[in-house]
């Protein structure tokens, strides 16, 4: 009796395993030797790098590999993509995600990005190294990944973003949370001191870029804010809002009408809870213009308490 049943069990397993014959295989190059051989595409400096225009909202996947333009930056020779930011759509939220993949040997690897905001003259305005990307362990159907969320206000001071990597990034590795630790944390078990795996940084890979208008990107705030965050009254830089300008003053009445029923402090608390300081500051500015005097000072106190 045992053998027939065992045979049946093995047969079923074999059939099931057969379904796996078409398993996917990684498509990235086996190593980064191609980068050494690649020619510099552009000798005119950052201002001459070819750019791709993006819209908002838009999602795109940037692939890095032998077919990607390569330039020798200050941080080393690296493949790159440049995205020209859309004007006239107000401040944007850019979210970059680089997912951990496996090489042919099953070892983890990841493209460790570097993001640079360039002005209209190609000068570097802001730089986010791979250390600025946040590691997120696998959760649900999302694999281990590096992410960065940045608010930018397209204009002369923020004309394009350059996405690349660097020698420093390629020399480092990203420590991943071992799934056994993840299980222990999720299930409130004693966490085993298992050694976490490390993902090698590669010059090949993919970066997912989400470009969203700031109000939309903040999700639950969008229906509450509505059109209030239009480009006409947007500050030049969300992270460092300037005092209310003439243009902003002219939009104050519309701000007041659009946001008259909104509890700005509640929105600002939510933005702070989401660690979106830029949005909180922007909301404070709008509150002031909408007649809620003292919101800016109140926000300053909230920030001091953090």
């Amino acid at each position: 009796m045992f053998l027939p049943r065992l045979t049946l069990t093995a047969l079923c397993a074999a059939l099931l395993a057969g379904c796996a014959a078409s398993a996917e295989r990684p498509s990235t190059p086996a190593d980064d030797a191609w980068l050494t051989r690649a020619d510099d595409c552009c000798t005119a400096g950052l201002d001459g790098l070819p750019a791709t225009a993006v819209d908002a909202p838009q999602s795109l996947t940037l692939r890095f590999g032998p077919k990607t333009p390569v330039h020798t930056f200050e941080g080393g020779k690296a493949p790159f993509h440049v995205l020209a930011l859309p004007r006239g759509q107000g401040p944007l939220r850019l979210t970059l995600t680089s997912r951990v993949t496996r090489d042919a040997e099953g070892e983890p690897q990841v493209f460790a990005p570097v993001m640079v905001v360039l002005d209209a003259r190609g000068e570097v305005q802001r730089r986010f190294g791979w250390h600025d990307f946040e590691y997120h362990p696998a959760l649900g159907f999302q694999v281990d990944r590096l992410t960065l969320g940045v608010s930018v206000s397209p204009g002369t001071g923020a004309d394009r973003v350059l996405i690349t990597t660097s020698d420093e990034a390629l020399a480092a590795r990203t420590e991943l949370l071992h799934p056994a630790r993840l299980e222990a944390r999720a299930r409130h078990l004693a966490e085993p001191p298992v050694v976490n795996p490390e993902a090698a940084h590669r010059a090949s890979g993919e970066v997912r870029v989400e470009v969203r208008p700031l109000g939309e990107a903040t999700g639950v705030l969008a229906p509450l804010i509505g059109d209030a965050l239009s480009d006409d009254d947007a500050p030049s830089a969300i992270e460092a809002p300037s005092p209310a300008s003439t243009a902003a003053d002219s939009a104050a009445a519309r701000d007041a009408a659009a946001l008259g029923g909104v509890d700005f402090r509640r929105l600002i608390r939510a933005a702070l809870a989401a660690d979106d300081i830029a949005l909180a500051m922007d909301l404070a500015e709008r509150a002031e213009r909408a007649g809620h005097a003292g919101t800016r000072d109140w926000l300053a106190k909230q920030l001091e308490r953090r």
Partner: protein, 423 residues
């Protein structure tokens, strides 16, 4: 890049506030949604619903393709305060279980099917609130407390969870000390009022993180269990048993890409049991228990890993009703890709009663499963699997979990689909 504190799944409390109609002045906080769930559908060859196979007297069964119920734990937690190195974290969790037979299954707990709901966590953990112990956490409430388990057979060999309180992770320089007072009430039929509660207390002391060798750490634990008697119970001249459990656990963290845990436990009287929770009822026999466990995970190649477990447990009871439980199992898995794998689980359990007049029970179980998971590895979840399970046992002492297996049968074949997730 180093790992920072991991937050499972953040929900904007603004969304929650909107959903709950909270006042506009509500303080915004983030909530961590965490939990566990398994569910599916299965059948037994020959007809009937899915049978699950567990040797009579064994404290656990090998679980791959061998779980017949829907079980879930849904939790919400939040850091309610965090400033100047001090934080207060609130955590809660509700568990649900039903027999996975219908669409509309009650969770009222009143029916014989065992479908029920349970509040299993409700606690606050305050870290950094004692100036002299900045890394220590003071906590109180119902809590899953530093649980130790074997995933393969869902065996919790050290789990004194329940309502309680204490302080944990006191940094002594060479290790971390935790002390807790836990409660798990029971009843004792020996009292005149047979249904009155027996307030069972457990004092749990643990010293963890003792570096023993490169990549290896030792944890030492002592649990003392005793009933906190009322005056009436004292006057009834009933003598509940105290219990003692000593645990030594060595964990090797750099173990072929995984880990290995070697555990030795000695229990006495009221602490004899699977988890270490005290049961000092006077009806509990006196005796001793020695348990040795080795379990872990190894990566045999980039595409193959394996869970394994071996258990030896000897309960020597004064009333002669003890037993020796021996168990061993392996679960190698081949990964076709980051999302697809084939797993095999082979498990064996044998229970030898202390009374030589009773029959030895043994059970062998073999499962093949084709799996689709979010990521690669034995602990990657969620997973959806199609499984086929075959089990063979001593016919007279099989723990029937389904009428699909008739008395006198000595083997069974089941198949089905199951999902499992944690987050």
């Amino acid at each position: 890049m180093r790992l920072s504190r991991f937050t499972p799944f953040t929900l904007s409390t603004l969304a929650a506030a909107v959903a709950l109609g909270a006042s506009a002045s509500a303080q915004a906080v983030d909530a961590d949604f965490h939990g566990y769930a398994r569910s599916g559908v299965g059948a037994t060859a020959g007809g009937g619903d899915q049978a699950c196979f567990q040797a009579a007297g064994a404290s656990a069964k090998y679980r791959l393709g061998n779980e017949c119920e829907t079980y879930a734990e849904l939790g919400l937690g939040s850091t309610l305060y965090e400033q100047d190195g001090k934080s207060f974290y609130f955590d809660s969790l509700v568990a649900y279980v039903n027999e996975q037979g219908n669409d509309f299954e009650s969770l009222d707990g009143s029916s014989e099917d065992g479908n029920t709901i349970a509040l299993r966590q409700m606690n606050v953990q305050a870290t950094g609130v004692i100036e002299a112990l900045p890394n220590a956490t003071v906590w109180a409430g119902k809590r899953f407390y530093q649980r130790h388990d074997i995933h393969m057979n869902d065996f919790y060999y050290w789990d004194v969870s329940g309502p309680g309180g204490g302080i944990e992770n006191i940094d002594l320089g060479f290790g971390k000390l935790s002390v807790a007072w836990m409660r798990n009430s029971s009843t004792d039929d020996a009292f005149p009022d047979s249904d009155q509660n027996l307030a069972n207390d457990t004092l749990d002391i643990r010293l963890a993180g003792l570096e023993t060798n490169p990549g290896g750490q030792l944890e030492i634990g002592y649990d003392y269990g005793a009933a906190n008697l009322t005056e009436a119970q004292e006057d009834a001249d009933v003598d509940p048993e105290n219990g003692h459990l000593v645990t030594l656990e060595h964990v090797q963290g750099d173990w072929f890409g995984g880990f290995n845990k070697f555990v030795v436990q000695y229990g006495k009287d009221g602490a004899i049991g699977s988890s270490g929770r005290s049961n000092p009822a006077s009806s509990v026999p006196e005796g001793d228990m020695i348990r040795v466990i080795d379990h872990g995970l190894v990566n045999l190649s980039p595409n193959v890993d394996m869970l394994y477990a071996a258990i030896y447990e000897d309960r020597d009871l004064d009333n002669g009703q003890g037993q020796t439980w021996t168990s061993a199992g392996v679960r190698p898995t081949y990964y076709w890709s980051d999302t697809m794998s084939t797993a095999m689980e082979l498990g064996y359990d044998r229970v030898d009663p202390q009374d030589s007049g009773q029959e030895t029970a043994d059970l062998t179980k073999l499962t093949f499963a084709q799996q689709w998971s979010a990521g690669r590895g034995a602990f990657a979840r969620p997973v959806v699997r199609a499984f086929v399970t075959y089990a063979s046992w001593d016919g007279d002492v099989y723990n029937a979990a389904s009428e699909s297996i008739e008395d006198g049968e000595d083997d069974g074949l089941t198949y089905g689909l199951q999902m499992e997730a944690w987050w």
